[in-house]
């Protein structure tokens, strides 16, 4: 039972990170029709930005982490906005080329990370109390899991509020449904694209920082690893749907943890969780090709 509780909360912690990445991807694809492979770079650069700041700033570890997270989100937003303005926008009516460009950027930016920081993992500043555990139902849960879940919950509420209560959220919801009609109402939808990209970049960077806390380290492959799971979450959850991403992220995180643990005994192999997630994706798609939610931003 205690293992189950530990697995569940860990799964939710992972799911929290997947959700952060997936939410941006989902909005970007839902609104712009762009499958953004460069999103992984936003995660990785965000993670490294957070780490880098902590090497420059003194004070408490919590403080370093907070400043790191804020700085990372800024970096993520700016990087994403630049990518959108310089590389995506000019290819507006050429969707295949847009995807190809994000592939090129993923390769190039990924290589840049290796070049700047090297392949070795760097240690992440994690406050002691996050490394400590809290006992819940007999299970010792590392406290960082709660932080990840809390952050994701805050972002979830924030995004849903943005969509529901603001003008730009209204434009996004409408744009996900019918981009052309939004322009026919006199709205410059391209500005919204840049905003959504920047927002996605900021949230992805935050996920990068959280992943640094979760794994205790950061390395150049972090973005790609998280990205693939985020893609799966987006497809299962439905493009353009924040709620769908949240549900799917939880499902993916949990399935991964449970399968990894319980199958490890049975199959003598630790990779079952990841494979199980792939199978989950395949099953969902076979039953409902459009994912869990219809193409509506909510």
């Amino acid at each position: 039972m205690t293992t189950f509780v530990l697995l569940t909360i860990t799964g939710l912690g992972l799911g929290a990170m997947y959700f952060l990445v997936a939410s941006g991807l989902s909005l970007i694809y839902g609104l712009m029709g762009v499958l953004n492979f460069a999103h992984g770079a936003f995660i990785t650069f965000g993670a490294y930005a957070g780490w880098w700041i902590s090497t420059k700033v003194g004070g408490s570890v919590e403080g370093q982490l907070l400043v790191g997270a804020a700085f990372a989100m800024l970096v993520g937003a700016v990087l994403a906005a630049v990518v959108e303005l310089v590389f995506i926008r000019p290819l507006y009516r050429r969707p295949v080329e847009q995807v190809l460009v994000t592939v090129g950027l993923a390769l190039a930016l990924g290589a840049l990370v290796y070049g700047i920081w090297g392949a070795d993992a760097k240690f992440y500043p994690v406050p002691d109390w996050m490394l400590d555990t809290t006992t819940i139902l007999g299970a010792n849960i590392p406290n960082d899991r709660f932080v990840e879940i809390a952050v994701a919950a805050v972002v979830l509420v924030g995004l849903i509020s943005l969509l529901r209560f603001t003008r730009i959220g209204l434009v996004i919801r409408a744009g996900v449904e019918n981009r052309a009609m939004v322009t026919a109402l006199g709205i410059d939808v391209r500005k919204t694209f840049t905003f959504v990209f920047a927002l996605g970049g900021a949230v992805a960077a935050l996920a990068g920082v959280l992943s640094g806390v979760y794994f205790g380290t950061v390395d150049p492959t972090r973005g790609t690893t998280l990205l693939i799971f985020a893609f799966i979450v987006v497809v299962i959850g439905g493009f353009g749907s924040i709620g769908g991403s949240a549900v799917a992220a939880v499902a993916v995180g949990l399935v991964q943890q449970y399968a990894n643990y319980y199958a490890a005994d049975w199959l003598d192999w630790s990779g079952a969780g990841d494979v199980a997630v792939m199978l989950l994706l395949a099953s969902v798609l076979l039953l409902r090709p459009e994912g869990l939610a219809p193409k509506v931003a909510h």
Binding site: L35, A108, A111, I228, F239, G271, V277, A282, L285
Partner: protein, 348 residues
């Protein structure tokens, strides 16, 4: 099948066959003279990727299926024979037979599942399956895959003429044979009535349905054929390089995509050109990055220039922006430009 359309490929083949006998030096481009083992290994690799890129082009350029998991089938060609020969100590014919069976069954099953969806969902499913393959390899179930480090191939069951540095030229010819075989098979397939339907599916799937055909079986055939061809490329990699887990990464599929687009998707030679020259460029950039004059540059320049993938990614982006048809489209574009200029000068 007109003989004339085969003239250029045949001429090219003739030139390539003769390469290991030439003692020609291409200093900036190749590591040594044409008949040296180092160069022959590199050229063999270029030929292998010419073939693998063409196999991917069947899927992407001709049938319009954007798969992000093609590397999985290439990886099958690396790992299945390696495991059979080394871990299970099978004979060569048995290992090859196993590969042939696996290289048909796996894409058949995975393709049957993946093709139930299309577009982005299809791309994601293929990516997911390939990533699953990556995980299987990395987590080393029962010690079969060697995890992060791979393992050394057991060379005993292999015929002597394929083993050893002195026989690199035989591997080169084998690679050439592979590339030629892929070329012929692809040509035949694309030119057949099935191939016509592939192109119709790529251009307008709805129209294919309207004329009463179901696209699904044709897409599946394309998928299986492309994967089968890629698997034998994997075998070539195994012989030339060995067992390396990098062949299971998403980066490899993305690289294949880059090769095809660089060369020209859906164009006759395009993908092969892309595969060949990308591999060559990758090698050349790697050795360039180690050179002193690069290492001496200030960080801002040194870092990007030291990473071949950065330069290749940047090149790819430039091609997507400015030459979307890839290298293969350059002659047509040049012709278009000169025609347009002539037309402009002609009209008052």
């Amino acid at each position: 099948m007109r003989l004339r359309s085969f003239l250029v490929p045949l001429a090219l083949l003739a030139v390539l066959v003769v390469v290991p006998f030439l003692s020609v030096d291409l200093p900036r481009i190749l590591p040594g003279p044409l008949d040296s083992p180092g160069t022959l290994q590199l050229l063999a690799l270029c030929l292998v990727f010419a073939g693998v890129a063409l196999s991917y082009d069947i899927l992407f350029g001709f049938t319009g299926l954007l798969s992000f998991g093609h590397a999985l089938y290439f990886a099958l060609g690396v790992y299945i024979p390696a495991i059979a020969l080394t871990k299970w100590e099978w004979s060569l014919p048995a290992a090859l037979g196993l590969l042939a069976v696996v290289a048909i069954l796996v894409p058949l099953v995975l393709g049957a599942v993946s093709l139930r969806v299309s577009g982005i969902a299809f791309a994601m499913v293929t990516l997911a399956f390939a990533q699953a393959g990556n995980v299987v390899v990395q987590t080393n179930p029962r010690g079969l895959t060697g995890g992060d480090e791979g393992f050394s191939l057991n060379f005993d069951p292999l015929p002597d003429f394929l083993v050893g540095v002195v026989n690199t030229k035989n591997l080169y010819w084998l690679a050439l044979g592979y590339a030629a075989a892929v070329f012929v098979v692809a040509r035949l397939a694309i030119g057949s009535s099935t191939g016509h339907i592939w192109r119709a599916i790529r251009d307008n799937e709805r129209r294919v349905e309207v004329i009463g055909l179901r696209p699904y079986p044709y897409k599946l055939i394309s998928f299986v054929l492309a994967s089968f061809l890629a698997a034998w490329g994997g075998l070539m990699w195994l012989l030339l390089i060995g067992v390396t887990p990098e062949v299971t990464t998403a980066t490899l599929t993305l690289t294949l995509l880059v090769m095809v687009v660089l060369g020209g998707a859906g164009a006759r030679f395009g993908a092969m050109l892309g595969g060949f020259f990308y591999t060559l460029l990758d090698y050349r950039l790697r050795s360039l990055s180690g050179e002193e004059r690069i290492q001496d540059l200030p960080d801002v320049l040194r870092i990007p220039l030291s990473e071949p993938l950065f330069l290749l990614g940047a090149l790819f982006i430039a091609v997507v922006f400015f030459v979307p048809g890839g290298l293969a489209s350059l002659p047509a574009r040049v012709r278009q430009l000169t025609q347009r200029r002539r037309a402009r000068e002609a009209t008052p």
